[in-house]
Every structure is written in structure tokens, then in C-alpha cells.
Subunit: 660 residues, 2 copies
């Protein structure tokens, strides 16, 4: 898989073609473009919410059906004495079918959808595109997979997938799917580059968090924490708009789905179920019954209580109430074996689908871990920690508070996303006063966890062999110079290249950037003229922009390159390119024969209008940490090493990641 991973370029490509295009732009256009981008950001939020709502409704419909089915058989078996095999069998069959469907699709149809979806989003924001990550097909299978696996009773949440879904939606919109026509085309084209797309993916990720947890601010911080090195306040506001719309829309869509009057009852029941889970879960008893109203007064964790209490004080309360809406729904199934009007806590835990139980109290990142964190963590341990923090205030046991801390510690230890997790938890519990203890807990969890291994998402990323760049270069390496990490000899191209030579060069290496140099002497390269990218070369070849057939001084306009964007290795580039890549080294000759006549093979391409004449460069004596910071801080893809205007080496992400 490693060969398919590609880097993104966050830098401007200041070719002559680009500058010519920029000269035609006015400041009025810039303003309209900015407005347009804001609108698109809003669209991303709304679309993410719609996808999320659809997934949610599907899950609920299926789970509804599943439990009414099992309830029927339970009632039937009460009479018929088949209790010990029939309902469990149906339950197992039902679940297995759905889990099988989910597994089959993710494994065989689109492997990019496996896992939570957070690692590829993290990679993308770090500057690496995983194969298939933002394809539309990935979106469909992701939604299918999550619907089936949650309905099938797997202890997974739809949170990670929602983040991935948001990213796919955003990427599609940034690419201008279906919008690149008429007067919109110009605006869309201006947004078609890695930089803007990465900003949209960040917004999409935030929208995903917002619609999964109902926490727009937490979503914003998630994107910032993962894509930190290149943010600015305008972008943060755009991401915020996107996340806020996602949360609002999801809420309203679900309100339409779930009838209003159910809400109040379910809220109380849900709170009761959670209370039971948290407070009594440790007893492992199978048959604890309680009535639905009483716990709401006595045992309700203060966390959950706030939602329903502070009605008049809360301004966008309906937004935060998302939690109640999306999960209170589950109550009827928890009645099992209990008299009417009271509910079975442990039954709820097993039969109610982990996702619903847990979501109610807190949309945990990963259902199962959250559940473990909240109910199985030895409460004595947590409590002693709580005493230290001067919790309690006279009363001795608040299951909600301690299990919130326990859950935070557990989650923090697993995902290590400390900053955004704090805000997500604070926002989800609607209580800013938990901010400090949560942050302290997460800090300790991270320090302790980092002592042993990396976070779960970072481990995933490491397993895939993705060259992610950390915040800062390793310490004490100032004596390592650029020349120690650079690749040489460099594969270069002349400013005017013969097609047959170009084809041969591309066939013999898999690089994505080539320094263009004047013909040199004595084994040295000539003057460095600029950098040309692999994707630009592909476009030039496909458009057959030969010097011999074009007018003197003419060149392809910028829009041709925008049309071909994103021209990454394996995807999205239309048949010819895909084919080109697939047959790269093996059947290249046949491809070549099919595409170009032998006359065309002797034609030349003029690269000068398209190359980036002054990319960021380093000297071979510049230290490794400096090159690292340059590369990471400015989001580069290629760094040309130049010694006295002589190209001597090439540094890419992989070279830097290797040293780390």
C-alpha cells in the first residue's frame, strides 16, 4: 500500500500560466470568491448533517425492527418455554447477517472504508492522501458499513465514520462535483488545489465531529489540533460555520424523524438507564428493576441532569439537546422482564445496542471503550482521585461525575487527542466546570499512555507505514545536514523535452516532482529553472501540447490543469491517466503505442510556462531540523537542494520521516 500514498502540496504553484491568470483577477473577484467559499463551507455542514441523519434513521429503523422481532419471540417463549434457545438464536442470526454484510463490503469492495476513518483524516490534514480516501464510493460503503455493524450489535460508534463521511463530503464539494458549469466554474476552479481542499476536509472533519457528538466547538478544535501548522482565524471561522450548521441541521432533521412528544418520556428513561448502567453496572446483577421517574430525581448524574434542567438558562439549548433526541429513542426495549413502568438496566446494556446506551450519556468515540471506561473502571479508584480534586462537596457518590472522569481518562489513554477531546466532553456534558478536571485527567492519561505506546490512531497510521511528520523534528540533530537526508542523483528534465525522452524518464522512476534545469556540462546540471510536477506532465501529454503543433508562444490555460485536478496517482483522473498509471512500468510500451504516434514521439514539450520558477529550496549545508521545519511549516511536497545554483538533491516527506 505504501507506494500508493501520496503527498499534498500546500504551497502556491507560481508558474507563468498561474501568474497570467492572476493578472486577470480583480479584488472584486477575490471578495466574491471569499463569499462563495463561505457558502460552500455552509453547504459542507448541511450535507454532512444530511448524510449523518440518513445513517441515523436507517440504524434506528433496523434496530427497531430487530428488537420488536426479539420481543415478539420473548413474549412467545414466556409461554412456550423456548426462552433459552429461540430468542438468542434469532438475535445471533440477525446480528451475524448484518455484521457479515458490513464486513464483506469493507473488506472486498472498498478496503479504504475499514477502521474508524479517523486515521486517514489525520493523515490528510498532515499532508498525505491515502488511496481511495475521498472517493464517493467510499462514502456509500462507509455509510452502509456503519449502518450494518451498529444494527448488528457490534460495539462500535458512528463517530469515527461520521468524521470520515464529513471529510469525503467536503472533499467532493471542494472538487466542485456538479458545480463546475456556467459562471460558477471560475470560482470553483480557484478552489481546486490541495490547499483549499485540505481546508475543506478540515471543515468536513469538524462537521463530522459536530454531527456525531453535537459539539461544534469541539469539532473546530479537532480540526485545528490535527491540521495545526497552517491555520488562520478566517479558516477557523469557516470551519466553525460548517460545524455549527452540521449540528443544527442534524438536530432538526432528527426532530422531524422522532415525534416531539416522545422526547420528554425518553429523556427521563434514557437518563434512568444510564444512571443504572453507571451506578449499578458493577454489581453484574441481571435483573435490577426501577421505575422510570424516580431516578430522575434522586440518582441522575449531575452531568445528564443539566441538559433537562437548565432549560430557561440555555440559549441554544435545542442544539445541545441533540443527545437526548438521538438516543432517548431506545427506551421500550429495556423493559424486558420488568413490570410495566419500570425498566431493566442490564437488559438495556445488552439488548439496546451498545451505541444507544452509551450515546445517550455521551457520544463516546468508540462505544465499547467508553462503556468500559464508564461502568467497569473500579469506582473506588476513581473516587479517591476525585477526593484529591476536592470533588464531592459533602455528598459522597455521584456516579455521573466519577464515570465522566473515568471515561475521559480511558478515552484519553486510547486516542490521546487531548485538546479537542476536552472541548468535546465539556460541550457534550454542557458544563464548563468539568473543563479543568477533564483536561487534567487527559493530561495524565496522555503522559502515562505515551510512556508505553502511541495513541490508537497513530498506531494505525504507523502500521500503514504512512510518512506522517510530527510537530517538530527530533531533538539534538542540528549537526545532521540536508545533504545527509537528500536523495541523489536527481532525476531532472530540460526546459524543452522530447516526448520520447519524457516517456522514458517517467517510465523509469516514480517520482512526482522534477527539477527543470538547463543542459549542463561535464556531468553537472545547468542553471536551475524551476520545478515541474508529475501531474502537470501527464496533462501536457494527454492534451498533446507539443511545441510543433501549437502556435508560437501559446500555452495551455490554467483551466486545463484545474479540470484535471486532482491528478493524484491512481484516482479521479479519467480513463487514460488511470490506465497510464496502472500499466506504468510493465506494459508501458503498449500504452505508448496506443496513445502516441511515432511522429508525436519525436515532438517536444515546452515546460517553461508551467513550471514553478522559484520553489522553496535549501542549501546542502542547511540543517535537517531547519529543512524539516520549512517542509512541515509551509506544507511543501518537494524541497530542492541547491548548491551554487546547481541542483544537487531532492528532499521529500519520506526522506524526513525516515530520519524521525
Amino acid at each position: 500500500t505504501r507506494a500508493c500514498v501520496e503527498s499534498l502540496n500546500y504551497d502556491d504553484w507560481e508558474s507563468a500560466v498561474f501568474l497570467e491568470h492572476e493578472k486577470m483577477l480583480t479584488h472584486g473577484y477575490q471578495i466574491r470568491l471569499a463569499v462563495f467559499k463561505w457558502l460552500l463551507m455552509g453547504l459542507v455542514g448541511v450535507s454532512t448533517a444530511i448524510v449523518g441523519a440518513i445513517a441515523h434513521m436507517l440504524i434506528h429503523t433496523i434496530v427497531d425492527f430487530k428488537f420488536s422481532l426479539i420481543k415478539t419471540y420473548v413474549d412467545f417463549c414466556m409461554v412456550d418455554q423456548c426462552m433459552f434457545w429461540l430468542p438468542p438464536l434469532i438475535w445471533i442470526l440477525f446480528n451475524c447477517t448484518f455484521v457479515f454484510v458490513a464486513s464483506w463490503f469493507t473488506t472486498f469492495v472498498e478496503p479504504a472504508t475499514s477502521g474508524s476513518g479517523i486515521p486517514p483524516v489525520k493523515c490528510y490534514l498532515n499532508g498525505i492522501k491515502m488511496p481511495g480516501f475521498v472517493r464517493i464510493r467510499t462514502l456509500f460503503i462507509k455509510v452502509l458499513g456503519i449502518v450494518c455493524s451498529v444494527s448488528g450489535g457490534l460495539a462500535v460508534g458512528k463517530e469515527g465514520p461520521m468524521i470520515h463521511t464529513g471529510a469525503i463530503v467536503a472533499s467532493g464539494i471542494a472538487q466542485g462535483l456538479g458545480m463546475r458549469r456556467g459562471s460558477l466554474k471560475g470560482y470553483m476552479d480557484s478552489l481546486r488545489d490541495d490547499k483549499n481542499r485540505r481546508e475543506f476536509v478540515a471543515a468536513g472533519g469538524a462537521a463530522g465531529v459536530a454531527s456525531a457528538f453535537g459539539t461544534p466547538l469541539g469539532g473546530v478544535l479537532f480540526s485545528i489540533e490535527e491540521g495545526i501548522s497552517w491555520w488562520n482565524p478566517t479558516l477557523v471561522w469557516q470551519i466553525f460555520l460548517c460545524a455549527m450548521l452540521a449540528a443544527l441541521f442534524l438536530h432538526n432533521l432528527l426532530s422531524l424523524y422522532i415525534t416531539k412528544k416522545w422526547q420528554k418520556v425518553m429523556e427521563a428513561v434514557g437518563v434512568a438507564a444510564v444512571t443504572a448502567l453507571v451506578g449499578y453496572g458493577l454489581s453484574y446483577s441481571v435483573n435490577i428493576c426501577y421505575t422510570s421517574q424516580q431516578p430522575a430525581d434522586n440518582f441522575v448524574p449531575s452531568v445528564g441532569k443539566l441538559n433537562s434542567e437548565n432549560g430557561s438558562a440555555s440559549v441554544p439549548e435545542n442544539l445541545v439537546k441533540l443527545d437526548d433526541l438521538t438516543s432517548g429513542h431506545a427506551s421500550p426495549y429495556a423493559q424486558m422482564f420488568c413490570p410495566n413502568g419500570s425498566y431493566n438496566a442490564i437488559a438495556a446494556m445488552f439488548f439496546q445496542s451498545a451505541e444507544e446506551n452509551v450515546n445517550h450519556w455521551q457520544h463516546g468515540h468508540m462505544g465499547s471503550q467508553f462503556q468500559v471506561g464508564s461502568s467497569f473502571l473500579p469506582s473506588s479508584l476513581v473516587q479517591s482521585g476525585g477526593d484529591l480534586l476536592e470533588l464531592g462537596h459533602g455528598k459522597m457518590f455521584f456516579p455521573g461525575k466519577y464515570s465522566l472522569i473515568g471515561a475521559a481518562a480511558h478515552l484519553g489513554g486510547v486516542v490521546r487527542m487531548t485538546l479537542s477531546l476536552t472541548l468535546i466532553l465539556v460541550e457534550a456534558t454542557s458544563n464548563v466546570k468539568f473543563g479543568l478536571p477533564i483536561m487534567l485527567t487527559l493530561m495524565v492519561a496522555k503522559i502515562v499512555g505515551d510512556h508505553f505506546n502511541k495513541g490508537i490512531y497513530d498506531l494505525h497510521i504507523e502500521l500503514e507505514g504512512v510518512p506522517v511528520l510530527n510537530w517538530s523534528p527530533p531533538a539534538l540533530l542540528h549537526c545532521v545536514k540536508s545533504r545527509h537526508v537528500m536523495s541523489k542523483p536527481v532525476v531532472t528534465l530540460p526546459p524543452v523535452v522530447k516526448l520520447s525522452n519524457l516517456v522514458e524518464t517517467l517510465a523509469t522512476c516514480s517520482h512526482h516532482g522534477f527539477p527543470v534545469v538547463e543542459p549542463g556540462t561535464k556531468g553537472l546540471f545547468g542553471k536551475f529553472l524551476g520545478l515541474i510536477s508529475w501531474s502537470q506532465l501527464l496533462v501536457l501529454m494527454q492534451k498533446k501540447a507539443f511545441r510543433e503543433v501549437m502556435e508560437e508562444g501559446a500555452h495551455l490555460p490554467l483551466s486545463v490543469f484545474k479540470d484535471a485536478y486532482p491528478c493524484h496517482g491512481t484516482v479521479d483522473v479519467g480513463y487514460a491517466f488511470k490506465d497510464f498509471w496502472r500499466h506504468f512500468s510493465h506494459v508501458f510500451i503498449s500504452f505508448q503505442k496506443r496513445m502516441f504516434s511515432s511522429k508525436e514521439l519525436s515532438y517536444t514539450l515546452d515546460l517553461q510556462p508551467y513550471l514553478n520558477p522559484a520553489p522553496n529550496t535549501v542549501s546542502p549545508e542547511e540543517s535537517f531540523p531547519r529543512a524539516y521545519q520549512l517542509f512541515r511549516g509551509l506544507g511543501l511536497r518537494h524541497l530542492v537542494v541547491i548548491d551554487s545554483s546547481q541542483v544537487v538533491g531532492m528532499i521529500t516527506r519520506k526522506d524526513l520521516a525516515r530520519v524521525t
Copy 2:
């Protein structure tokens, strides 16, 4: 003033001396250094809290005295019919004296203390050091000034000054005041550079926010928002630790000061006073009386209520209750003209010192504006805005809620610090549900405000002519190249320079960085060897590190340069340097005569061990936006423009700011 503004360098200075030093460091040392830095960060927080507590106690003692004085005279005049001239006269005299003292000290003794102190902190985090900004004397006069002006009844808050105070404390600690001895010296020296100092100043600013508003998370975001281009998660955690300790310590110190039993009463009274201010302020009546308990049940703004209500639910509640503690104190003065047990709202507004009134409900950035925002903003206007947001929920008028929105809008319009302000307001009101409307309000306020002018701090900065660099370069300027903005001809130095020549060079220009080049031919410079800074040259001259008197191959160790740090233009560099700078162009000859013998003037200095051999450079064809991003993103001070290993120009912050 402009000449005194100096830039900071956030980059590593990888001279041979530095590399030699680094070779001696082990990874164990790195870890100990990291721990030491964490401890220092904590120390910054605690120290800031102590300074804040002292200022607070002084203010309260003086205000206590002032009002007991006036109350005495009011009681006396009730009988004596001197009501219309004696108490006002005493009030005016008292206030004028204090305001005069404050004005005199800030104007004549240390002008750097004038203003809120936020603009210089912003500048510092942007990479510019204002003269006198972090001097210890500034700290004392700042505290004196704020005590006197608040006691004098000026409508100012101690929030801005607290931020400045935190920055000064942090800078002093980072510099190692009193700690550079024994085994600590090595660690302290490792932290003595612009990069670490800027991180400490960021932490100090956050601690200032935290101790002014009681909002550690808001403080963290303040520092991030202002110093954004160079943060990373570790730093954020350190800042958080610092801010949290500041808030906690300030709270505990004030608890010691104010007896516990007063707290409960004052809380209720304070809430009542605020309620009156907000709800009835518009009526302009002078004599509204109410009893102290009733409003707490009926009219208390939900905002204020939360603090006292959610006691059992709040974990670090004592932290957030800071508000109550620091301001509830003021109640007795508000009784004026009312029967015992009830209090005068409007008297409170005038006599209670604006700071106390306003602080109670919300530690506003600038007392007066906040007050205007909360009480004088037409409530009908705010309410219609509220209706749009679906506020209200059946009840029609919540003064607290609307005035919070109004105040947020007003504050946002004035300061335009949107992200951190949101978190500060949310944290101060302890209600995360206000996050969204506040953020929306601030967004609108910023958009509308930016349409007319800049924010107040940015205006201050602009008036001072400080070359602050914005987030991103102006749009549509890719056709501007580095050669268009660079300075030429460049003042360079040879690798081995004769003292008399060096002295002459320094006397004829005021640059702070000099490219070192090999002797050239035909009016061209020779090979570029590296960059040497003005402060290094000063150290070399002061230490008389002549080649002729030092052993072959010997050079000054790194610690000598660390001792001299910060070697900025006018300050902190010991007598000789200060003198050197002051007499720069005028009396240079006399200085020169005093310091060097004529024999020494013919000696030479070897610059090679000290220069930075491979700083970031650009080619003259690299575009202006690219150079800008490089400069801003990596926090550089000098950018050398190189064409074919030939130095052709110099770009500094001022060159970039000029184009903007």
C-alpha cells in the same frame, strides 16, 4: 519610537559554537530540561497570581477606606445639610489624587506602562519587542498605576494590565533572574533565547487572562490566537498548566484575604446589584430600593445564578467562583439612602467603583465599555436579535441573557479577539450553552466592525508604527518578487574583520544582521558564508575576543552569549552596551577611544565560529507571498536574498510590512 522597536528571532542559530555545545548534551539532559521548563511554567503561573493578588488587595484596601470616609461624611451631612457639596468634594479630591499619581508615573517615569498592556503583548507574540516592555520597573509602575487608577474610580479594569504583568513576570523568569547559578545555570542558559522567551511570554499572557477573568482555558486560547504561527501541543499544555495555576492560586490567596463567612452574603448582594444594574439601569432613577434576598429568587439573571446554584454539580467550582470572591466584597457601600437590609442600585453604580460592579457579573476587558454594553444598549434591539435566535423559551425578558449578548457584541466590536473572547465569556459565565450565540454575535460584530476600522488594540499598534505581520500576505501579489521588496546594497562583513572596520560599519548603519561573505572581485561579493547578528558582534567586541590575543582555534563558548542575552538595542545589556547604543552615531568616536586602545583597533575578529552558516534564504525570483510566508511561518528576523551564491539583498520584517 519606531527606531527602538526590534524584532525577535524564533529560529535556531546553528553556529559552530552552538553545534559544539549541542554535541555535549545527552538525551537525559533534554528530558531534565523539559521537566525544568514545566516547573518554570508553573512558577510563572504562581508568580502572576501573587502579583495579581497584591494588586487586588491594595485596590480593595484603598476603596474600602475611600467609601468608609464618604459614608462617614454622608451620615454626618444627613444631619448637617451639607449633602450637596461636602461628600462630592471629598469624593472628587480623593479620586483626583489617585488618578494624578497614576498619570504622573505612567507618563513621566515609564511610558511603556501606558495603555492596557495588551498591544505590546500582541506585538511580542507577533515577533516584535517594544522598548521597556518587559523591564522589571515596568512591572512595578504597572501595578502602581492600576491600583491608583482603579481606586481613583476610573472606568478601567485590571484585565489588560494583568495580561501585561503576566508577560513581564514570565519574561523575567525565562531570563533566569536570580536563578542562573550552580547546576541550574546550564538549564537556564538553554532557555535563554527568543524562542523560549516568547513561549514564556505566551504562558504569562495566558496566566494574566486566567487571573483576571478566572478563565484558564480562555487564557490558553488568547495566547494561541495571538501567537498562532508557532504553536504545538506540548506548548499548549505548558501554557495551560501555567494559566491553571495562576487561576487557582489567585483564588486561594483571595480566600485568605476575604473571610469565608462574608462570602455567602456578598454573593447574594452582588447578584442583586448586578440584577438591578442590568434590569433597571435604563430607567435612570436615582433611588430604587430592594431587599437583598428577593431578587436572587425572581430577577437574578440566569447567567449569574448558575455560579451559586450548580454547587454540587461543579467539580472545580471554587475556581469559577473566583468572580464571587473578588467582587462580592463591595456590597456595604450600596446601601446609601436605603433602609437597612435593602440596597441602592444606582448608588452602587456610581459609588461602588465601576470595576467592582462589572467584575462581579463578568470581568469585562474594559470596565466602561462593558458597562455600556450591558446596561445602556437599547434592550429592544437586543431582544429582537434574541427572538431571532429563538431565545426566551416562553418567558419574555431575561436581562442577564440579553445583556450578555449585548456585552459580547460590544466587546467583540471593540477588541475583535473573537476566538479567545468566546471561550473567556463562556468560561466566566460557566455555561457552555452560551458558546454558540456568543460566537455568532462576535462573528457579526467582527464583520461589521472590520468594515469600518481595525480593533482597538490593532489601532494602538498601528499608531505606534509597529511593523506587525498579518496572518497572510495580501492577495493577488504573486507577481511581486523578492527582488522588489529587498534592500540593497547589502552591508556585509568579511569572515575575519579588522576591529576598526567593524566599528566603522556599525557606526554607519543600524542594521541588526550582517551577511558574512568572502572577499569578492569586480564589485561583487564573494561566496556567502552565513549570517552574524549585531548582538553577537557586540559581545565579541566587549569580550575583546581578538584573534591576536586568543589561542589558535579557540573561541568564546556559548555561555558568554547566553550571559549577554537579551542583547536587544536599548535594554538589559549592562552599562557598556547601553552606552554603546545610546551614543551610537553621535559620540561614537569618544566611546571608541574609551573602550579600545589604538593597538586593539588594528586587531581582527574571527566571525566564523559564531555565524549561522545556513540561514533560510530566498532567491530574488521567489515571489513576495512565498517570502512572506517563510518569514512569518518560521518566525525569522532576517532573510538573505541570494542569487547564484551571491548575496544580492536583505529582507526584514519592515520590508514585508511596508508592502502590506
